[in-house]
Amino acid sequence: MSALLRSGPVRTITPFLVLLIFLLAALQWAHEGVYEATIVVSAVGFALLAAGLNIIGGFGGRLAFGNTIFFGVGAFAPALGVTHHWYSALTGMVIGVVISAIAAFILSKVLWRLAGLLFALVTFAMSIMLQELVSLGNTFGGPQGLQEPLATKTSITGLALLSNYDYAVVGVVLVFLAAVLTWWVRRSRFGQQLLASRDDRIAAEANGVNASQVTAYAWALSAAVTAIAGTYFVQANAFIDSTTAFGLNTGVNMIASNIIGGLGTVFGPFIGAGLVGAGLLLNRLSSGASLPGLNELVYGAALILVVRLAPGGIVGVWHSAVQAIAARRRPAHDPATAEEAGTGTATPAAGADGVTAAGLTGAASLAAEQAALAGHLRSDGLSPEQSTAGESGYLLEVIGVEKQFGGVRALNGVTVGVRPSEVVGLVGPNGAGKSTLFNCIEGIERLTAGEVKYQGGRIDRLPTHQRARLGMGRTFQHVRLFRTMSVLANVSMPLVARGVGRTESLAVATDLIRFARLEEVSAEPVSGLSVVHQRRVELARAVAGGSTMVLLDEVMTGLADEEATEIGGLIRTLSTEFGVAFLVVEHVMGRLVPVVDRLVVMDFGRVIAEGSTEEVLADARVREAYLGAGALGEAPQAPEDTAAEATGKRGPE
């Protein structure tokens, strides 16, 4: 039984079956009377509203408190048409959905730079502003709202049904469709990119994901679903006013359904909405009491209880329970459960051991793997044209780049070039401008002056994700992985972002994972991995999209010597066997020297020396920058030993 549950299609279908049974039961109950049907209709409204928010708030990581805007638009659009005899309710619904989707898309772009909480508040303020605005004139019925005439016959263009039970039937269908849509979003390529943008916006862009675009589409989809919830509400209740449409209470129910059920899970919002609907029922049963606020009070308390006792919502608690049971039953690795853990509650995985052993023993099969990998990396769809250099013979050229931060000139005319399949080390004291240079090359910072060329063409005006898609990979000084995803999902992200098919991207990612000796932890969520594994995941991800130029920012920092050597070996192999060029920032010269073909030394935002490791280490200016003017003694004969001690600290601090 448990084996059956773990297999793919069954796992997917089971929750849908449960939902379906539950929905049919609700319908059966709604059949009993007008009151029961009203409760089901309300719960359906919450479910659609919650599902809409979940797409942007759960999967997109942007809790749009003001999603009520689109609920209001979706409700008022048909109500206006019907009460003023302008157009039919169906037309109104289409208008509402289209306006909502377009508005959400534009708003998403405009508000892109606002961080989570501020984003939530700004959208909330917009909704409250609309509430006030709409209650002003008579067009929207003022504070009393609009009352649609009751339907006398069933009509499609009028979106009119005769009984609450009929509305419940339609609502149940809509909820099921919303669940399918949510499930599709979660597993689609689009959804994967959305989750990546949520987990780490900068890492997503550096791996070719157009984060702002993906998020804008997600909000548009979310707004469309929410607008349909609004239309459903107004048609079923034949009534809408500004407070119901845009007000705080609607927003609270929308968010509460998600939080109670589990924000960012496929079925959580629906479970939460069912419970909020059941809460309404209790409300009604105990009404007429002497304390008018008591039921709401209980609702508030229940909300707090759920958040405090069941973080991650009901689905979150369910996932943790399932994992705890599974872990007790099977102490060994089981990819099937670990992969699913990627959703909400990432449990730290104990996967550190097996891999180092594999790293030492696996050398025999390396040649075969490399052949397979080479095939993938060089296959037509993947590698960006050929690894062509510009006329100058350089793959990457940084020409006279300047970067000014306020009064600080972080880069002052930096010129650096990297040839195809060359490994160039970039060294310099802290604050020399190395990471800033990386950010300028990658497009995370804009240049103040100068040019960046890649394959002979200027790229310094391109957004980050486009530079990545041209074939530039990147690792970060502080590892930036998509923390809720598995190793496999992380490594395949650049392929997903480039539109490579599922099968092929899995094949490439699997080969790379084997190459980076991560197969033991392939299905584990990255958040539980050790630093050395995380660095290897990041390296594998950086080349996964067929990158020909990879920027490594202190990829060996914090690693033990043998681990660093292993990473160095991976870099050399990628360079010599697969023609990948590297620009490597590293502090410890002794680790860099065996890996690089050439060294570039920076200090105070300038290149102060460049050439082979011997030349550079003999350079007086370099030794001054590294060891301080007073420390000038013998020229280091064995660069590995002497310079290894100079870990990048400027002499007299």
Binding site: L114, L118, A125, M129, V252, I259, L291, G293, E296, G300
Partner: protein, 290 residues
């Protein structure tokens, strides 16, 4: 001209009191990353507290104020321990939901206890100082003076004392602050207590000129958010200045346009500025940009 000056006076008076509860909101937003939707409801609690003190116990406002500080701090402490302790800065969404829950509880408790009729104090409401064609309502003036004193005191505490340094250290980098010996959990608790006490005190002075209703808090919390974000999150002086600007805007709009649109204009102002200047009007805010 008289009308204009009059509306300026009323706007500044109202704005300073907005500032009093807004800096409390700004503190919890900046330090705890808590979007406290219940903040306005604590203002409401203060209003009912002063109302009960006067009507039931016959205490004058001047006595209520000092007497209420310690109970208010205790209540705030309990609320923090029971509801927020251990949620941490990471769980921003959870904290937001908890505060919504508290808001619902407070509003409905007030509804159950006091009903939905508006309650107000008698004496101060009508009397005002008059000179020229202008008038300055006494209750508002009192509230204004108290706000200035309290905001000044909080500013001094944050800029001059060890506690203030600890707060700034925790905001800048919690882990490093803890390594340096700052007990961040204590900073969080104290910050929350100060924030809530400010809200309750603001309520006590506001009820001198505004009647209390169970849902009055939602207006305050919206004004507070606007002030916090316009002023720049974590910038207390900016928040206070922004609160005064909100007060002025509302006063001018309601006199020269219509009282019904004053909120729309205030929210609109907020939305536009949030989009164009995410670090706040004065550009010193932190944490607003990803």
């Amino acid at each position: 001209m008289t009308t204009f000056i009059q509306s300026l006076i009323l706007g500044i008076l109202a704005g300073a009191v907005y500032g009093l509860f807004s800096i409390g909101l700004s503190l919890s937003f900046g330090v705890l990353r808590l979007v406290n939707f219940a903040h306005g409801d604590f203002v409401m609690v203060g209003m009912y507290l002063a109302y009960v003190a006067e009507h039931t116990w016959g205490l004058p406002l001047a006595a209520v104020l000092p007497l209420s500080i310690i109970p208010a701090a205790l209540v705030a402490y309990l609320v923090y321990i029971v509801f927020f302790h251990g949620t941490g800065r990471q769980a921003e969404h959870d904290q937001l939901i908890i505060s919504l829950g508290i808001s619902i509880i407070l509003e409905n408790a007030a509804l159950d206890i006091f009903g939905d009729t508006a309650r107000s104090l008698n004496p101060l409401t009508i009397s005002s100082f008059r000179f020229g064609g202008l008038y300055v309502p006494k209750a508002e003036l009192l509230a204004f003076i108290l706000s200035i004193i309290l905001v000044g005191a909080i500013d001094l505490v944050l800029s001059r004392t060890g506690f203030g340094r600890a707060v700034r250290a925790v905001v800048a980098n919690r882990a490093v602050a803890e390594l340096a010996g700052v007990r961040s959990s204590r900073v969080f608790t104290l910050t929350f207590v100060i924030s809530i006490v400010l809200a309750i005190v603001a309520g006590i002075v506001i009820v001198g000129y505004l009647p209390a209703t169970p849902d009055v808090g939602s207006n305050f919390v919206l004004i507070g958010f606007i002030a916090v974000l316009l002023g720049g999150t974590g910038d207390l002086r900016g928040t206070f200045a922004a609160a005064v600007i909100v007060g002025l805007t509302e006063s001018l709009v309601s006199i020269y346009w219509a009282p019904s649109v004053q909120d729309v204009v205030a929210y609109g102002l907020f939305v536009v500025i949030a989009m164009t200047r995410p670090r706040g009007l004065f550009g010193r805010g932190v944490g607003a940009i990803a």
